[in-house]
């Protein structure tokens, strides 16, 4: 979607109305639904949608596959809990600290790997995630090690993000999701966003045309990391209990990647779609098949199948349907970059 290029048409196109309707439906659900279980699932869906969107910034738009999403989530989560429990500081205030740490970590990894071609980046993210997990386990006085941290509940307090039930988190996550979608969109039409898509298109050509590929990729990774830690902070408050196993695990990083890839790698709505498909699916699988091992098998299998059969994810099926129902008014609306 290039700037100022669309022919003047109606302001409320179907492409804009549908998301608004969805938003409205989502906003009304808590009022209509009494099951807390459903609310919890939807919060998880939204959380993973946000994680997926964050991953997409570097993984989808940048084509640099990162496997350390969980590490940034963990940074946001642990900074939140440690400072809230020990010092009573509101998560809203500690957010910048988590973001700064994630920014720093992303810079370290980026400096080491973005000058190199190939899988170095992916391998380095795995190494980093493992290092962080070990660090969290090791510095027991601070992080309580493998036992994890429980958020101390001192009564309902918005500022501390402690609530008696999940419903307030529903709205918090919904707002966060809308903000993330908006921010992701702005990113894709920013200069960095355009340069990133050039690099994804052909890195060598991009370089020869003046784009500093290293800087651009680094910036995308830093942005992705910070987004991930923000989401991690709020998600942790929702979970009220975090541990290295639940937040720093390779499993989580894979899940986040799968959400974005299954939905539609490199698209705006892909991760959202992916999250809303995968989270309930895994929940269902866990109910039917039991142990977590089997639901992990599903993640791996889905990733493999999608890469083979539908590398662009599920979203293109929906956009094809959309195009059938609402054929483009003029040729100029088609083509160009798809969000």
């Amino acid at each position: 979607m290039t700037h100022a290029r669309k022919s003047r048409g109606p302001i409320l196109t179907p492409g804009r109305i549908i998301p608004l309707i969805l938003l409205l439906i989502m906003a009304l659900i808590p009022a209509l639904v009494t099951s807390n279980y459903l609310i919890t699932i939807l919060v998880n869906c939204m959380a993973f949608a946000i994680f997926g969107l964050s991953w997409n910034i570097i993984g989808g738009y940048g084509a640099q596959i990162s496997w350390c999403s969980a590490a940034f989530v963990a940074i946001g989560a642990y900074v939140n809990f440690i400072l809230t429990n020990e010092a009573g500081i509101s998560p809203f205030l500690t957010l910048p600290l988590g973001m700064a740490l994630s920014y720093a970590m992303a810079t370290v990894i980026g400096y080491g790997t973005f000058r190199l071609r190939g899988a170095y980046f992916s391998i380095a993210t795995i190494a980093f995630a493992e290092t962080l997990r070990a660090a969290v386990q090791y510095f027991k006085p601070l992080t309580k090690g493998t036992a994890g941290i429980y958020l101390t509940y001192r009564g309902a307090n918005f500022w501390h993000l402690t609530f008696p039930n999940d419903r307030p988190f529903y709205f918090i996550m919904l707002i966060l999701l809308v903000l993330t979608l908006f921010f992701t969109y702005r990113f894709t039409v920013s200069k960095t966003g355009y340069y990133l898509s050039c690099i994804k298109g052909d890195e060598i050509a991009a370089e020869s045309l003046g784009i500093e590929t290293f800087k651009v990729k680094l910036r995308a990774f830093q942005v992705s990391a910070m987004m991930m830690s923000v989401a991690g902070c709020f998600y942790a408050s929702f979970l009220t209990y975090i541990s290295p196993a639940s937040t720093c695990s390779f499993d989580l990083s894979i899940k986040i990647g799968v959400v974005a890839i299954i939905g539609g790698i490199g698209t705006l709505w892909g991760p959202v779609l992916g999250a809303f498909i995968i989270v309930p699916l895994i929940e269902l699988a866990a109910k039917l098949l039991g142990a977590s091992g089997s639901s992990n098998v599903l993640y791996g299998l889905m990733l493999v199948l999608i890469v083979i059969f539908r590398p662009k994810g599920v979203l293109p099926l929906l956009t094809a349907l959309y195009d059938k129902v609402f054929p483009a008014r003029d040729a100029a609306a088609k083509g160009g970059r798809r969000a």
Binding site: V108, I123, A134, G293, G300, L303, V307, I308
Partner: protein, 297 residues
């Protein structure tokens, strides 16, 4: 006392590093020929262990005697998994390979857990606890564990065998030609698909054999994959992607570092120690010890 600790750690590390080296060589071969990193090596190791366990239960033979059977099983297993998945995306490019091998790794490891359960199993070995005395430092014994030593020796034999294969046989030459210049290789009549298949199956069989040789040292369970999923990747990068010599040296280095960290700092920080080493080396020598640098400005 400290000297003794260092000596014992280094010795243990060199020997256990042999296992990492073996997996690393497997990944290196695949990378050399297909220019892609196989993230699923650890998962194949796990299946190697389980195959060893199964054959052990059915035949009662010791792990080392089962090598031929396990090799055959793995060739079949590797071939099927490769043909069913990776073969289909070879042409599509780098990120597909990363995604699919990571997916495969996750799938295979958790599949093993689902099929075989989470209980640790054991492959009995009469030599499990045997060791001999190498010497003494400051009155303290420096011990060589026999299983570790055998693992190391088996690894050497296998690597020499692989080296022979690559340099003396037609397939080996085909693999090296495909590795250097795939387009030229095709023109010379080499079937690149067959070459890729061979390289992959060889690579994962080596990983599976690594699993076999550590059965006296570890319980057979899927989570072993977690231990061996990260270190081999570090080995390959440290040694320089695509260099077998590098994988060997890298493997020993990784093994030694891991043991030193485990001994002097904390037992479960071993892997983290390797990762930190890796990140440092990435800054200092990005192309590894034997890697070939790029001719870029």
């Amino acid at each position: 006392m400290v000297v003794w600790k260092i000596a014992q750690s280094v010795l243990n590390g060199l020997l256990s590093g042999g296992v990492y080296a073996l997996i690393g060589v497997g990944i290196t071969i695949i990378f050399g020929v297909m220019k892609m990193v196989n993230f699923a090596a650890g998962a194949y190791l796990v299946w190697g262990m389980y195959f060893t366990y199964l054959w052990h239960k059915w035949t009662g033979l010791s792990a080392y005697a089962l090598i031929p059977l396990v090799v055959l099983s793995m060739i079949l297993f590797g071939y099927i998994t490769f043909k069913g998945t990776i073969r289909r995306v070879i042409k599509t490019g780098g990120t597909s390979f990363i995604l699919i091998t990571v997916g495969l790794s996750f799938f295979l490891q958790n599949l093993a857990e689902t099929v075989f359960g989470t209980n640790p199993l054991a492959v009995d070995s009469s030599i499990k606890t045997s060791s001999f005395l190498l010497g003494k430092i400051g009155g303290l014994p420096v011990i060589v564990g026999i299983p570790r030593l055998i693992a190391f020796l088996v690894m050497l034999v296998l690597v020499l065998g692989v080296n022979f294969l690559l340099t003396r046989t037609m397939m080996g030459r085909a693999m090296r030609a495909t590795a250097e210049k795939p387009e030229v290789a095709t023109m010379l009549g080499i079937n690149t698909n067959k070459t890729y298949t061979f390289a992959f199956v060889l690579g994962v069989t080596l990983a599976a054999l690594s699993g076999l040789i550590v059965t006296p040292l570890y319980y057979v369970q899927a989570t072993v994959g977690n231990t061996f999923r990260i270190a081999p990747l570090m080995v390959v990068v440290l040694g320089g992607m695509g260099s077998i010599k590098g994988a060997l040296v890298g493997g020993m280095l990784v093994g030694v570092v891991e043991q030193l960290v485990a001994t002097f700092i904390s037992a479960d920080l071993g892997t983290a120690g390797i990762c930190i080493l890796f990140l440092i080396i990435l800054y200092v020598m990005p192309y590894g010890i034997f890697g070939k640098g790029e001719r870029a400005a």
